[in-house]
């Protein structure tokens, strides 16, 4: 599980859903959750939270990709790749700390990913869980 720390900078509520924007060292990451400031008291601007998401939910793209629906993007550099037959574990170093991504070995080859390359790690907003620190 990847963990990133940040501070809630905005909450948009609709019914029982909230779209929470979290400022992580200047990078804005968004998460959609089934909770509102009424049901969870930690949901307030300024609260420090952790963003939790599974390694398998990270999408890796080469920088420069523009037209894609994923808006949570973190610029990172690959520091290591552990190879399996089908899956690879890609270790990424970013301003927000070390991240791990599990993607297919095929994709690693297709994108010719290797340590030292700069990539964009992207996460869908419905894959991020919040946990108050």
């Amino acid at each position: 599980m990847n963990r990133i720390e940040g501070q809630i900078s905005g909450i948009q509520v609709s019914g029982s859903l909230s779209l929470v924007s979290v400022d992580c060292k200047g990078i804005l990451l968004k998460s959609i959750i089934i909770d509102t400031p009424d049901t969870s008291d930690y949901l307030a601007t300024g609260t420090k939270v952790q963003l939790l998401f599974k390694e398998t939910e990270i999408v890796i793209a080469k920088p420069g990709v523009r037209e894609i629906s994923l808006q949570n993007r973190i610029l990172a550099v690959i520091s290591a790749i552990k190879q399996g037959d089908l899956l690879c574990s890609v270790i990424l170093e970013s301003d927000l700390g070390t991240l791990e991504a599990i993607i297919s070995t095929n994709a690693v080859a297709d994108l010719s990913l290797q340590p030292g390359i700069e990539v964009l790690a992207m996460i869908k907003l419905n894959e991020i869980m919040l946990s108050p620190c």
């Binding site: 599980m1 959609i32 398998t56 399996g84 899956l87 419905n126 894959e127 869980m129 919040l130």
Partner: protein, 293 residues
């Protein structure tokens, strides 16, 4: 309202231990005592029930003093009106299920409650059998009904379901919830089963080395962090196997086996037998209606 504070020096194979407990319960609340074996959970129940005398302290239940070392008050178990379900059920082998339950009735007391308890524990068919002819779950139901026949203010459950299979356990938990609503007694439960604790208790007190080290709602106590994921279950790790760069963990959640993929970093610190919380976002699971056959 129950307030209790007591001390007792306990001796075990590991040496001496000072039991020092302080607790407060609201009427109708269910508190679970959780902790390693030998942490003093059973001793705490025995002290509350009067089977074991503490070295000092005070126990007050609903305005009535049960024990006060300062005033030399120590009500015997007979006068404390407690429902107690023992780990081994302690059913009387010479009496039938019905006689076991009726044994707790006071002289001249009507048997209306007896009939009611036999009905809600579904013991009607079995009431004339002796405990030796009953299965573990059936014996457990008799023990529960017997504990309730004196309409206790406080029900103490000492790992009551540890020896039962999952389905039986689940039925009994439902019964305890139902009975609690019906009769309004307060419960103190000793349990190791995370699912059971979350289902039954309002509050958990973690007992370690004779003292309560942590206290709070089951969620507060058992989840290191509150997680917003709505798809949450507690389960037990049955198997761990490495597949390439990930590990596949087999979990028992309720009566279902599920598998979860985790990474190397997470697998450290997890081992077979561990109780875990499984969390995911409500956005991920898909639902498919099971066709009626």
């Amino acid at each position: 309202m129950i307030t209790a504070q007591f001390n007792k020096k306990l001796w075990s194979a590991q040496g001496g231990m000072q039991l020092d407990i302080q607790m407060e319960l609201q009427q109708g609340e269910c508190l679970t005592l959780y902790g390693d074996s030998g942490a003093g959970k059973t001793s705490a129940l025995r002290i509350l029930s009067g089977l074991l005398q503490p070295d000092s302290g005070r126990i007050e239940v609903g305005g009535e003093t049960w024990y006060d070392s300062g005033k030399n008050i120590n009500l015997p178990p007979q006068k404390r009106n407690i429902g107690y379900v023992f780990q081994d059920y302690a059913l009387f082998p010479n009496l039938t299920a019905r006689e076991n339950i009726a044994f707790g009735l006071r002289k001249g007391e009507s048997s209306a409650l007896l009939e009611e308890l036999i009905t809600i524990t579904s013991l009607g068919e079995l009431q004339h059998k002796k405990p030796g002819q009953l299965s573990g779950g059936q014996q457990q139901r008799v023990a529960l009904a017997r504990a309730l026949v004196r309409q206790p203010k406080l029900l103490l459950l000492d790992e009551p379901m540890s020896a039962l299979d999952h389905l039986t356990r689940s039925h009994l938990q439902d019964f305890i919830l139902e009975a609690r609503q019906r009769y309004g007694f307060t419960v103190i439960l000793v349990s190791h089963d995370l699912g059971e604790i979350i289902k039954l208790s309002d509050r958990v007190a973690v007992l370690g080395n004779g003292v309560i080290s942590r206290e709070g709602s089951p969620a507060q106590v058992f989840m290191q962090h509150k997680i917003s994921g709505k798809f949450q279950f507690s389960g037990k790790i049955l198997g761990i196997e490495q597949q390439e760069v990930v590990w596949i963990v087999t979990l028992l959640i309720g009566a279902n086996l599920v598998k979860v993929v985790v990474t190397e970093k997470e697998i450290q610190g997890l081992s077979i037998g561990d109780q875990v919380i499984v969390a995911s976002k409500a956005f991920n699971p898909i639902l498919q209606k099971i066709r009626d056959l």
